[in-house]
Symmetry: C2
Subunit: 237 residues, 2 copies
DNA sequence: GGCTTACTTTGTGGAAGAGCAAAGAAGAAA
DNA sequence: TTTCTTCTTTGCTCTTCCACAAAGTAAGCC
């Protein structure tokens, strides 16, 4: 009942590169990578850097953001263990379109682009996995684009929180805690609004008992209420 | 100077499935498809249909649209010859997330999902091509998402028109004619606004001599002016 | 503790754009 | 031709949301 069965809600498949590989194959893929650690704030790559490696998170969280030509920043996603990023390198694009930085201490696997391409040549299942990965992203951004085009801020914010909760939420006795140091500014960038509007909406929700929020912290006390807002169920249960 | 060198402008690579295949390989891939014709308005697949085939346009134009749970429609893209669509079927997703219909009489190549997957197993280059295809879409929608989140309607509309012009525009003595029967409603759905706002902006541009617009018709008379709006170059140059 | 810094809240004003209504074109059909 | 339908324009109102300002609050550091 919580992340809902709404078809438009991004399913967050996060099919790893290793899906449906045999143990031996997985080991082989794994051994082509090296493990790297970054402290909080460390940068994996910057927007514009040559796209020459693919990453998978072992532990920690990574922020993917983008800066517009006018200098406005937006936060595309915050991802956690198991998630692949930088897969665009497989497509022979010259530069990463986003910046990836460690939101906390992170350990990641890194494959040099050419190594992974070589493996794909020999292991079609790996290619299918990569395609699935990409397809998931296409869907996610198509959905978010549509959301952005058709829905109002309050609803988008509700969705952002629900997405974050389902990805990295942790149950506490108070509710689902979003276990990331996200400022109002960050939430605003993810939702496509301003920090002021985020603050106002959260205050309103707090007065309704839906959430409890503090500095860089949001606890969802009544997920069902947020889902109602996210899907505009009006007053029907 | 026209479609611009702005990095955020979607490059529209449209790398076909056939890129970098030898003639023999291309012929083999080609022979796994059957050619199908649809009259204008014909539907290739509906949002929600089982995703069991991949398409490439030989001639004509195809509209890809999506309907939200509330019944709002948006027009994601209008694509032309050479463009692949329905590639999501490769990812083993159960249903197409969009509806594809012929905007005019269309001839397309159709690959059954399983056939193409079989070919991919034997032809790694094909897999890479598919990955490239997907990666292009990820970038496109990431860009459009960012655009939507950070930019105002006027600029988004300018970009929409420039994109359409570069894809399907035809030079006339009056300017670049967008050679598609797109209503104000269609443009609004692509841009993420209302038909009223589109109409107003076009009127304004017309009075400035930038475009000439009529029923389901837009001629860009002064592309550079639109580019200026799309990129907010102010009065420079 | 007090000081500094970063984050958050809230008030106010204003602009962008949505939404409705109604009238005007442009095709299509009869 | 006239009629019908669809698309477009424009005026008006109203909501949403942005933007700035200023004060409040929490965290880190000396």
């Amino acid at each position: 009942m919580f992340p809902t069965a709404d078809p438009s809600q991004t399913p967050s498949i996060e099919s790893s590169l290793f899906a449906r590989l045999t143990d031996a194959e997985a080991a082989r893929v794994r051994s082509a990578a090296r493990s790297v650690h970054k402290p909080s704030g460390g940068v994996f790559f910057m927007q514009g850097d040559p796209a020459d490696a693919v990453y998978q998170i072992e532990s920690g969280r990574v922020r993917l953001s983008q800066v517009t030509t006018e200098g406005q920043q937006i936060l595309l996603r915050v991802i956690g263990p198991g998630t692949v990023f930088g897969a665009i390198a497989l497509a022979g694009v010259d530069a990463y379109p986003v910046t990836a930085e460690a939101a906390e201490g992170c350990t990641v696997l890194v494959w040099p682009r050419t190594a992974l391409l070589g493996l794909i040549e020999q292991m079609p299942k790996l290619a299918i996995n990569a395609i699935q990965l990409m397809a998931g992203h296409v869907q996610e951004f198509q959905d978010r684009f549509r959301e952005m085009a058709t829905q109002r801020v309050e609803r988008r914010l509700a969705r952002t929180l629900l997405r974050l909760a389902s990805q990295t939420g942790r149950k506490t006795e108070e509710g689902v805690l979003i276990d990331l140091a996200l400022t109002r500014q960050d939430l605003a960038e993810m939702t496509g609004t301003t920090l002021y509007t985020v603050s106002r909406i959260l205050s309103q929700w707090e007065s309704q008992g839906l959430v409890r929020s503090g500095r860089e912290r949001v606890v969802i006390r009544h997920p069902h209420g947020l889902v109602k807002i996210a899907e505009d169920l009006g007053e029907s249960e």
